[in-house]
């Protein structure tokens, strides 16, 4: 992880850390009150997947761990729960990005759509392993996985466009 030693690389992680804090606080309080009866999109997952897609699997792992641990701290049943799910998703998104053009939206949209299913499946199995029950998988796919994946697919358009723009301008890592 040579990039991590470079002093230019410190600020992007700090930016993502602060952005994740803001997302978690707003999702849990403000949006949590207004949209209680609806499925809430996981903005953190979209952010991490898009950034891992742009930056590759190595930085993706760090991002997944960092944001997942923060989510664990606020809402997780144990430390490592969301961190594991987000780290795996970011790693896979980073690997996939090698084969896909980054300047077209279709690639990240498809990756975020698939990443949502992988993320939710990991949470489902972790719950099953550690707490013995997770609910009916087909029911959850219908009411939770699919609606979330569709929300995320749509959210990827503005979020990825913005992140791609900032990345190209060198706001995260100097080009």
């Amino acid at each position: 992880m040579k990039e991590l030693d470079n002093k230019n690389t410190l600020s992007p992680y700090l930016i993502v850390f602060l952005l994740s804090l803001l997302i978690l606080v707003i999702e849990g309080s403000l949006l949590g009150v207004i949209f209680t009866r609806f499925n809430m999109p996981d903005l953190l997952l979209v952010l991490v997947t898009c950034l891992a897609f742009l930056w590759g699997e190595k930085k993706g792992i760090v991002l997944g761990l960092l944001t997942g641990l923060l989510q664990d701290l606020f809402f997780g049943p144990a430390l490592g729960f969301f961190a594991l799910a987000k780290m795996v998703v970011a790693y896979l998104a980073g690997i996939t990005a090698r084969e896909v053009y980054k300047d077209q939206l279709a690639g990240p949209m498809l990756v975020v759509f698939m990443a949502t299913f992988v993320h939710e499946f990991i949470i489902f199995f972790l719950r099953l392993i550690f707490w013995g029950s997770s609910g009916d998988l087909f029911y959850l796919m219908d009411v939770l996985f699919l609606p979330k994946a569709v929300y995320h697919l749509m959210l990827t358009i503005p979020i990825y466009s913005l992140l791609y723009h900032f990345d190209q301008k060198g706001y995260f890592f100097s080009k």
């Binding site: 309080s29 949590g32 009150v33 009866r37 049943p77 144990a78 430390l79 490592g80 795996v88």
Partner: protein
């Protein structure tokens, strides 16, 4: 070892490390570490602020959208309040009589409770865990497993405590179960287990009810107080439908909880008082 193999090895090691972290920090942990505590303490007022903004926004739109319904509801509540006032005086008389009779019979004091009000400042947005965060922590005397209630009934219990906030596990979370009985019969042998109902969001399920238990739709379900976490007699909900379980040996029932878990704004933490130490309210009683 080439670079991609090394990367994959690090990735696998991290997975094992995180699985161990989940195992060791799961249900056994009641407090946070110092660093976590510091971060949560700093952000708890921010969460409280955003939560209040959320509630104000929700109420603003509620007034606009449901104007006519709210006027009707206000009229109905005014009538109900007048009827409740009457009931309240009767209850105060009965309570005084109960105190006198208990003194005459030299009954031991029952365990009493003090209610500490708390504001709900966050809710798990992932939909995987039915948890809320409240703005009271161990600095306010909150401890793990304390029961959480509203004026309607039982909400859940404290799962983790930080300095100025606590995570509360709601009754609807499938990781928890509460022993319960039917208020109408109060049969000691007819205790069932109330748990979350993942397939019916917002409802609860009562299982392991003995086949001879007398159940009727509409019956009120209360906590049995057997697990040592929840005090006996807290209202959980009303029976909707009953029937045999999947093996046909025991009964099960669907419960409509009295608490709307989606609209929790303020709750009370039940702090158990030792016999002999009564709360301020009870001191006022003759």
């Amino acid at each position: 070892m080439d670079q991609s193999a090394r990367k994959f090895f690090i990735f696998l090691s991290l997975i094992i490390l995180l699985l161990s972290a989940i195992h060791f920090t799961g249900d056994y942990r009641s407090r946070y570490t110092f660093a976590e505590d510091l971060l949560l303490a700093g952000l708890s007022p921010v969460q409280g602020f955003f939560s209040q903004v959320g509630w104000r926004t929700y109420r603003f739109f509620e007034v606009i959208m449901d104007h006519n319904r709210l006027i009707e509801e206000k009229k109905m509540l005014q009538k109900e309040l007048a009827a409740r006032d009457n009931l309240h005086y009767q209850l105060v008389e009965l309570q005084k009589e109960n105190y006198r009779l208990r003194e005459m019979l030299d009954f031991k004091e029952r365990v009493s409770y003090e209610l500490l009000p708390a504001q709900v400042i966050a809710r798990d947005p992932s939909q995987w865990f039915e948890t809320i965060t409240i703005n009271k922590g161990y600095a306010d005397g909150v401890e793990k497993d304390m029961a959480i209630v509203t004026s309607e009934g039982l909400v859940g219990n404290v799962a983790k405590v930080s300095r100025h906030s606590s995570q509360v596990l709601l009754l609807t979370d499938s990781r928890r179960a509460v022993s319960a009985l039917i208020q109408r019969t109060r049969e000691p042998g007819a205790v069932g287990i109330v748990e979350g109902f993942p397939e019916e969001k917002g409802y609860l399920r009562m299982v392991n009810i003995p086949p001879e238990a007398n159940l009727q739709p509409g019956d009120t379900v209360i906590s049995a107080g057997l697990g040592g976490v929840f005090p006996k007699g807290l209202i959980i909900g009303h029976l909707l439908e009953t029937g045999p379980d999947q093996y046909g040996l025991l009964q099960q029932a669907t419960i409509r909880p009295v608490v709307d878990f989606n609209r929790l704004e303020e709750v009370f933490i039940v702090i158990e008082l030792m016999p002999g130490r009564q709360s301020d309210n009870e001191d006022e009683m003759p």
